[in-house]
């Protein structure tokens, strides 16, 4: 029986006592937030949905190793980030269209004046969004994940380091490299007026 009003720890105890259905409450409680971070890291809905399922499955299997002092939300969030990271690594490995630094920024030569307004701006904003996504895809899996966690999910360097299993300084460097690459890659979009 699913207990929506129970706290996460009580639900976990129930699951570990043999009440498999209780896990449904955790799935319903955390799926949306996991989807959000998975989408930001993978960049597409289908991958994000698979990451959510994969993370919750892995979470269930590892539930015995979950420490009761920790927050289930943070724990499953880390698992989801790992799953998303695995997915983009796998995709980058298979995706021959990923060109990273080979892509010529000149090809994306859509220059936007700072003060541009009206329909042109609306039309171009879609293209800019695509270019930003391409720029994000050109980062390594670790850089992209570190940047998403820092810039969009507003996680601290220490949290990022813990999630990625690296030293805080390495996490900081990954964010720095990501910002540097993104700025260079998107520099041609901006023309001062």
């Amino acid at each position: 029986m699913i207990r929506m009003n129970q706290n996460d720890h009580a639900v976990i105890r129930a699951v570990l006592s043999g009440d498999k259905e209780a896990y449904g409450a955790l799935v319903m409680r955390h799926s949306s937030s996991l989807f959000r971070v998975a989408f930001r890291i993978t960049g597409n809905e289908a991958d994000a949905e698979e990451v959510v399922q994969d993370a919750l499955l892995r979470g269930y299997r590892k539930l015995e190793s979950f420490e009761s002092k920790a927050s289930f939300g943070t724990w499953i969030y880390r698992i989801a980030v790992h799953c998303a990271l695995d997915r983009i690594r796998q995709r980058n490995g298979n995706d021959t269209s990923r060109v990273a630094d080979e892509r010529d920024p000149e090809q994306d030569q859509v220059q936007v004046a700072d003060e541009a307004a009206g329909p042109d701006r609306l039309l171009l904003s879609g293209e800019i969004g695509v270019m930003q996504q391409n720029a994000l895809h050109s980062l390594t899996a670790t850089e992209r994940t570190a940047f998403v966690l820092r810039h969009m999910e507003e996680r601290t360097t220490e949290e990022i380091a813990a999630v990625l299993g690296i030293a805080p300084n390495a996490a900081r460097q990954a964010v720095f490299r990501a910002v540097q690459k993104l700025r260079r890659r998107l520099a041609h979009l901006r023309v001062k007026v």
């Binding site: 799926s31 919750l56 996504q133 910002v179």
Partner: protein, 265 residues
């Protein structure tokens, strides 16, 4: 303080805990760094990314529906011990029964095998004198046809290599031979694939454009065409390739002889 570099500006933007007070003071005084920082802020403000699509209230239920059936039920320690104990007794009983059954079945099949083997040995003794080697006529025919095709192709390529484009009596037979070989080449390519020789099939595939050009060159074979084809042939190393393939081809007659002698010794 020196100017802030990009790394320091990025650290300052993300508010590296408690250590950016000097950076703040510097930015208040230094116009160049303040401009660089403003540019960074502007760039990063643009990089908000695509907002994740909102999932409806039933999303969690859908996820649970898809993963729920895949999850095993956790057992408490007491249940695990009980199951382990049951499994131990039940497993021991079953293993004795299985071992007994295996012994009976094994003895039955050993008897059957022994009988079968005896019958086979006597049949072999009786038929030994009249036994003929196993032949693979279809394969042998294919090998003969392929060898012949490669020999003719080699001849054509040698002629092309030394062809004098100005001589009509030399060019005309070349075209006729190429027409004949072109049709054969397609059949041979299929045969090569059939006998499981992808290298040969690929080589024959390479030959086809040259044969086609020789056979059907619009306006006939003039000196420029001959010179170009000679060049292409040399560039692709076609003659060498054909010679290597010929040397690799098994000699079906020798093979048959070997099989015959192997059968009687």
């Amino acid at each position: 303080m020196n100017h802030l570099n990009e790394e320091q500006l990025i650290d300052h933007f993300y508010g590296k805990d408690g250590t950016d007070a000097p950076a703040s003071r510097h930015l208040e005084r230094c116009e160049a760094c303040a401009q660089a920082y403003a540019a960074l802020q502007s760039d990063l403000a643009e990089l908000s990314g695509v907002e994740p699509p909102v999932r409806d209230a039933a999303y969690g239920a859908r996820v649970w529906k898809s993963i729920g059936p895949l999850l095993p039920v956790y057992q408490t320690q007491q249940q695990s011990r009980m199951r382990g104990w049951m499994r131990g007794w039940l497993g021991r009983g079953l293993s004795y029964a299985a071992a007994g059954a295996l012994l009976v079945v094994g003895a039955f099949f050993a008897g059957r095998m022994w009988e079968h083997r005896q019958a086979q040995i006597s049949a072999e003794i009786h038929s030994q004198q009249s036994q003929k080697p196993a032949l693979h006529p279809r394969e042998d025919v294919v090998v003969v046809v392929l060898s012949d095709h490669l020999a003719r192709t080699e001849g054509l390529l040698v002629e092309l290599k030394h062809a004098d484009a100005g001589s009509a009596e030399m060019v005309s037979p070349l075209r006729d031979e190429a027409r004949s070989l072109l049709a054969a080449n397609r059949v041979c390519r299929q045969d090569a694939a059939q006998i499981g020789d992808p290298a040969l099939a690929t080589a024959l595939d390479h030959l086809e454009p040259l044969l086609a050009e020789l056979a059907h060159q619009p306006g006939g074979l003039n000196s420029a065409t001959i010179a170009r084809l000679q060049k292409e042939m040399n560039k692709d190393g076609l003659l060498f390739e054909v010679r290597v393939l010929r040397s690799r081809m098994p000699d079906p007659q020798a093979d048959s002889a070997k099989r015959s002698s192997g059968g009687t010794t």
